[in-house]
Amino acid sequence: MSSKVISVDNLVKRYKELIALDHFSMDVDEGQILGLLGPNGSGKSTTINCILSILEFDSGDIKVFGKKMTPKSYDLKRLIGIVPQEVAVYDEFTVYENIDFFCGLYIKDKEERKKLVNEAIAFVGLQDFVKFKPGKLSGGLLRRLNIACGIAHKPKLIFFDEPTVAVDPQSRNNILEGILKLRQGGATIVYTSHYMEEIEQICDRVIIMDKGQAIASGTVDELKGMIKKSELIRIEVPGLDEDTLSKINELKNIYTVSYEDNILKVEAGSGKHNVIDIINILQDRGLRLKKIFSEQPTLNDVFLEFTGKELRDDL
């Protein structure tokens, strides 16, 4: 049984009249990648800042590695790494010096630090830029430096606060692959983003946040299973008869079936084998399939169903 790395219970944070976190609770298991998904201002960063004790909260309880987290929990802070939303490095230092400085806040031994810094540089692929100052780096390279500064001391718990904002697709993929590698190395990760594709790609569990509340949580499939929105299947298949249509209609999870201009349209509920089941029926009857499309519900659909608004509207 995996132990809880983070335990947040009934967290409330107010900024004057605004309730930033409204009785928010969450748990993160060891070795897990937890995604916090929500639009800007939904409370993701506030949650992280409260967990890290750099922001006071009004009520609630936060435990990290089973211990209460306070601003002076230096033993716990030693185990934590942070990759902030904005690139947080010194312009005056080179790439190497930046990573060495931030790693030095955790690791005093010079030799050990040197080894860790070089590993971090290799991990993010900045070997060719160690003597560059941040001002000379591209946006993607800066993001990589930002990550290296947060992970060089090999933390057991890492917070990634929207690390891919304004990053090109290639760098974004590199970052996501890096996060998966860190998990493989044993780190527990909290990942916030408003890019649902990223969350779907790397997170074991997702908490969807809106207005400071957790409106849904679970695995990606579990979340998609919570909504009514169906999978839309379209198959170009000539010569379909009524008997075949009724046979498809009898399948489990099928809501509606229609056929027009050689296109079969099927709306199905949540299920992993909907397309296969339909194709099996069509092939049994010797029909020739030309094109097959399947549109799965997205986390945006989940967000839409729970909040009545599009996740993308706030981006």
Binding site: L18, A20, Y90, Y106
Partner: protein, 379 residues
């Protein structure tokens, strides 16, 4: 040690800080040197005037006149016969001729004589005639002290600046005030290091929000603040010391001979500037460069009021509104440095230092309290 090393590097890499605290003041002093270095000397040095003496009588009055004028610094007696002297006078080769009669001295000036020439040459004659009775008595009684005293008086009338013996240990020069004000300005700009120091602890202030990282690190805020403060103080002290060295060696402006007190001044003034910078960083609103700009505006105002551009300004305030000098940090620092260099009695220097130290303690206390309560993250 690692943090101290990087903090030093950060401070030394801050070009704006180095410019305002060192490059700008030294450059300004260089231009002051070009503009002022000869003015004071020119104003206070009188070239000897070439004069001739024609004796029309032979008595003690005439014979002693020759003795007296031969010992006066501002006169260069040209020893020629009467005809030659008049020729030289007519060609403006000499400024004047004393015509010494039985009991009177007449003065003939050259055609292009100046008011200064006239004043100097006539003053000597007038003084001699006026004081001759005294000299005659002295000569009769053989009292040479009185005679020497009279000659000294004649020489001293050429000094335009009279100094109160016992107050000043160095020769004062009003233009030096500009240099001291510039040194103080450089020290005041060390405040920018204080602004940057606190910005590094405020996630919503810094250009790069590094405070987020330092805040979640296992290093206590006290260690971060103290490391940043002392590394910056070290840089500030080196810069101030080097600026004073430049002023003394390259621009020939004295820093005095009291090394312990000078070190005390450098230490106290730089600590004051850093703590003042922390206050700017904590109480001004906006991003770090905005806070820095507001601080710069305040510093420039303070430096202006201390006489950086108009050296007589502090004197004017002293007469009409002395409170301005008392509360203006740049003036307090200027007075401290000026009095350290020039005054024999250091009581007033120590009073200024006490003011600086008290303000520093106040600023540091307020800054520490404010920093401890600081909430870093924004929504």
């Amino acid at each position: 040690m690692m943090m101290f090393k990087y903090s030093l590097k950060k401070t030394l890499s801050n070009r704006m800080f180095i410019f305002w605290s060192f490059v700008f003041p030294v450059t300004l002093m260089f231009f002051f040197h070009l503009a002022f270095s000869s003015i004071y000397a020119d104003q206070n040095t009188i070239e000897p005037r070439d004069v001739g003496v024609i004796y029309e009588a032979d008595n003690p009055f005439t014979s002693f006149f020759g003795t007296v004028t031969g010992r006066i610094d501002v006169l260069n007696i040209v020893d020629e016969d009467e005809e030659t002297l008049y020729d030289l006078l007519g060609q403006n080769e000499i400024e004047g001729i004393y015509i010494v009669k039985e009991d009177i001295v007449e003065v003939a000036m050259c055609p292009k004589y100046s008011e200064t020439d006239s004043m100097i040459i006539k003053t000597v004659a007038d003084y001699y005639i006026r004081e001759y009775d005294l000299v005659e008595q002295a000569l009769t009684s053989g009292d040479m002290d009185t005679v020497n005293s009279m000659i000294d008086n004649l020489n001293s009338q050429t000094d335009y600046v009279s100094q109160k013996t016992g107050i000043y240990q160095e020769e004062t020069n009003p233009y030096n005030w500009y240099y001291y004000a510039t040194i103080v300005m450089g020290i005041m700009f060390q405040a920018m290091a204080g602004v940057n120091l606190v910005a590094e602890l405020q996630a919503d202030v810094g250009e790069r929000k590094v405070a987020m990282r330092t805040s979640v690190s296992p290093v206590s805020k006290t260690v971060i603040v103290l490391t940043g403060f002392f590394s910056r103080l070290l840089v500030s002290i080196v810069i101030s010391s080097f600026s004073l060295f430049c002023m003394d060696r390259f621009f020939d402006i004295p820093v005095g001979k009291r090394m312990p007190q000078l070190i005390l001044f450098i230490l106290a003034s730089n600590m004051f500037a850093l703590s003042m910078g922390e206050m700017f960083g904590l109480f001004f609103k906006g991003p770090v460069h905005t806070r820095g700009n507001k601080g710069t505006a305040l510093i420039m105002t303070s430096v202006f009021l201390s006489g950086e551009m108009i050296a007589t300004l502090p004197g004017m305030f002293e007469r009409y509104l002395p409170i301005v000098n008392d509360i203006n940090p740049a003036t307090v620092l200027n007075f401290a440095l000026y009095r350290l260099v020039y005054y024999e009695d250091l009581t007033s220097f120590y009073i200024e230092i006490v003011k600086i130290v008290l303000l520093t303690v106040l600023f540091l206390t307020v800054a520490t309290m404010k920093l401890r309560r600081q909430k870093y993250a924004s929504l």
